[in-house]
Symmetry: C2
Subunit: 626 residues, 2 copies
Amino acid sequence: MGTKSLKNRDEMVHIEKIEELEKLAKLIRYYILVSTTEAGSGHPTSSLSATDLMTGLLFGGIFRFDIHNHDHPNNDRLIFSKGHASPLLYSLWAAAGILSENELMNLRKFDSPLEGHPTAAFPYAEAATGSLGQGLPIGLGMALNARYIDMLSYRTYVLLGDSEMAEGSQWEALQIATHYGLHNLIGILDVNRLGQRGETMYGHDLDAYSKRVSSFGWKTILIDGHSFSEILAAYERAFHILDKPVMIIARTIKGKGISFLEDRNGWHGKALNKEELSEALKELGSVDKSITGKILGQDDLKPEEKMPGEAPEINYPMDKPVATRKAYGNAIARIFPEFPDMVVLDAEVSNSTYSEIFSKKYPERFFEMYIAEQNMVGTALGLAARGKIPFVSTFAAFFTRAFDQIRMSQYSGSRANIKFAGSHAGVSIGEDGPSQMGLEDIAMFRTILNGVVLYPSDAVSTEKLVKEAAEHKGIVYIRTTRKDTSILYHEKENFVIGGSKVLRKSDKDIVTIIAAGVTLHEALAACDELKKENISIRVIDLYSIKPLDEATLNEAAMDTRALITVEDHFLEGGIGEAVRSALAEHTVPVYSLAVRKMPKSGKPGELLDYEGISREAIITKVKELI
Amino acid sequence: MGTKSLKNRDEMVHIEKIEELEKLAKLIRYYILVSTTEAGSGHPTSSLSATDLMTGLLFGGIFRFDIHNHDHPNNDRLIFSKGHASPLLYSLWAAAGILSENELMNLRKFDSPLEGHPTAAFPYAEAATGSLGQGLPIGLGMALNARYIDMLSYRTYVLLGDSEMAEGSQWEALQIATHYGLHNLIGILDVNRLGQRGETMYGHDLDAYSKRVSSFGWKTILIDGHSFSEILAAYERAFHILDKPVMIIARTIKGKGISFLEDRNGWHGKALNKEELSEALKELGSVDKSITGKILGQDDLKPEEKMPGEAPEINYPMDKPVATRKAYGNAIARIFPEFPDMVVLDAEVSNSTYSEIFSKKYPERFFEMYIAEQNMVGTALGLAARGKIPFVSTFAAFFTRAFDQIRMSQYSGSRANIKFAGSHAGVSIGEDGPSQMGLEDIAMFRTILNGVVLYPSDAVSTEKLVKEAAEHKGIVYIRTTRKDTSILYHEKENFVIGGSKVLRKSDKDIVTIIAAGVTLHEALAACDELKKENISIRVIDLYSIKPLDEATLNEAAMDTRALITVEDHFLEGGIGEAVRSALAEHTVPVYSLAVRKMPKSGKPGELLDYEGISREAIITKVKELI
């Protein structure tokens, strides 16, 4: 009798909870519809399919979040990988009392933080999304942080669309999450059957997803995504699975709740017009705007504070050439005590990028990301968003694999405090051939707004610039070279982002050579050669390509007859174009020696000659100009 | 009795065949070892693990190939996705009599077609590889061609490394191959346990791969990759599987055949020195250089010849604005009769890129590639390598997802006859926000050596340039705009790659505006506005950004006081820098109006103003200069 009445009481509570969730879901559907119609565009139907899933998560007693401190280190995290469901995201936070209906009505407007797809402008978004297949890797980074670095109990939830499961990046994240045993990562797959232009590959076949996802080592839970009982039960189960990541695979209806939108093709990315809206609202019935969804608070835990220590001194004998990639490895290992938030990731080439120097010294802060660059960059963003300073390395060429993730990270604003290190720059890698040569990496990273591009030429400047990168808040790219290069600088020399070094200068300089990396060494050799013929040239080490040292370049433009840039990179978007843009209003000609012929295998020296970026090519060009 | 002796005879033949394969494998191992030692670098151990698998395939009576006509349309295709096993690839063809031992000894040398990783220089390579995870998508394109376009019996084999299975692109290809039922695609997974810097995620656990791959709808066959009986039996089985693609998953030993290399870490990408080589060759024993591996010929089938027809005329009323993305869709559908080798691929956004106009008219030549851009580009390369002209579309922003595949395709040389069409360029897309804005696509495609970048501003020029793209042999990128733009040109106007149009010109031009796409319309409006104040400016439509019309730019640089480029693209690597590079030796200043502030959601007009690329911004800049 006692048990039965207790059970009845539990049931009553459960029924009340579900009624409350239903009311909230109705309000949220209302918000989605009115805000998108007001905006005149947006994705209401993709939002409606996930409404019950998200309402259940946030307001069903699962999600733990201090709504007054969105940055609390132990908050659960929620990432909308299907970023086009942003009207739902904003409506959820409106239902939680964080946004007013008026603010919602500014959706997609110029001055509103509620952008068409979530960006850093809306801090509850955790990360910018909207290019599909990126949320799971970001969530993975946050889950990795909870489990291995901050040692906190928070969970990371990622809302996924079914269409985006076609992206390979998802499967990269699925495998790595299993590899690191991230049971604190929970995916919620909104299988609404319809993509942008029609049915997905698997339609409503939940088993097709389950088979694939579980083969990757995840626990899968299949539910009706519009049944709050099933939704709550699934989250409850997921909460108690402690040996593997969990994917809740939910059958949903696109446009759910409005009959003329439900499961219909042709309604993707389309707002209702005023008449359609009024019909939809009639169908929805009266909504209670006075209710507020309650989100449970999280345990007030903080990560252990790490006190910065002191890094040992730099020490490179002047007479012993060292590859800058190796100096990079030395540097990250050396400065770690000073930057205890550092984390190092590498895509299975740590013995080439030399991040292995760090991994051997601080294995607990090194994460092998295997040959899956997209996921690696997403993971880095997740870590950075949780206050870490990720240093991410692979061959410069292979960062092209993650250009979309790199591009998107800038829209996460200050959270994207990521340091990229690309080794094996240019044709000077030699025999391995063009597939391994980074020849477009400067162009790629230069396009990142507010991004920094550094290209050290010796071990000392590499060490200094790696530290500058760690100190700088934002996206930094460091380009390193495969082969050994001589030491150019004394260890007391100072290097700053936006700086340069004038290495050869006299009153008689006819021409200025601007270079970095291997070509700087070629320029210095050319300078010495020309000096024998009494030809003076200026040589600038442009170690900071973005931002660049306009003052020094301007001075050179005034002092000398012409500038010659020399770079082991394709002409387009490289150092030459960076310098031209900086000097656009000058009338000095800027000649560019760059990689212009189809690169191939060969000895480094042969290739520098072939591409016309060797000391001989510089000498020839200088003589042509005088 | 009769049956038994027949069986014995079969067994004898089988034993002889295996003995022959073992001899060949020994010779091939010899070639691998001596050629890499001579080169002083390369990947002998990764080659040795796959030697038996490949020897069995080519010389075991499975592979069908006319060795004197590597381009025969019905040849079986073999792609080394693990491109670092190139010493094996070259040694196989040496064993087949295509290369001499002397030629092999030029491996990785400057003048040799035998590059460190396969490129177009070696025509038997089918495609350049070396950036991992790219071979399966390329093979998919070839298999798609066999099954759906050329209707030929050839099979496509792809040799895969175990490490590269971590790349998401593999899983994109696996799912799409199943979707299109490509039983003529056979993967051979060389599970040698060791990646570059240590063990792979799954080591020698073949089941881990089998579970995952078969969950994606492939038939898997698990074998010992060093047993010729098992190898031949697996190929035989694969040959008869007609309902799904097949993955042969082989347990192999890295460095197989040389005891001190076998299964050892630290031997990746490392050639033996002379002493080690002599030890290795001693162990290998005597090799018979007189033998030649026989490759069976293929049925001499050819695809049905398609006679080019005539395309209908272009017809756009001058007074009705049309989005260039829509004109793109119209154009590919219109010109198809003239280019019967065209194939159209799209990443699930055909209703936005308007490739759906083609798909509705020619469904048999349209392939839905779903949201998996990397695989889409690889597939396009595979199709192009088989003589097709693929037109590949998605949002301009999402081509960044496939930058590595795009970059790599240029190393496949003339086979990479691919046309990329990126829609939704720039901030002028408006409300959807930055994640959907292509703002780095020009920079990205400009880095492709010999690549062409086109950016039409109206429907007529789009139609003309799409045809130019189809006629041009090589990589072409076409950038289109979301919103409607007015018709600028008469349908008889001529457009060529490398051309431009001077739309406003007088003797009194003070400044030249160079623009394309939406900003060209802004420039024309600014020009009209300024005319009212008696200020004359020149306006150039730079529809061909690479190559660009230097003559016309030079003339403008001579005639006017300054040039102003205006572009809906980030400053870096865009039109401004392209123009500056073209005019580097001029003394005219080139000012650049481009996207320099963090883009966001808003109305197109608001965003053009915000970024300083609207007509008002142009007018202000011009007035500043006069």
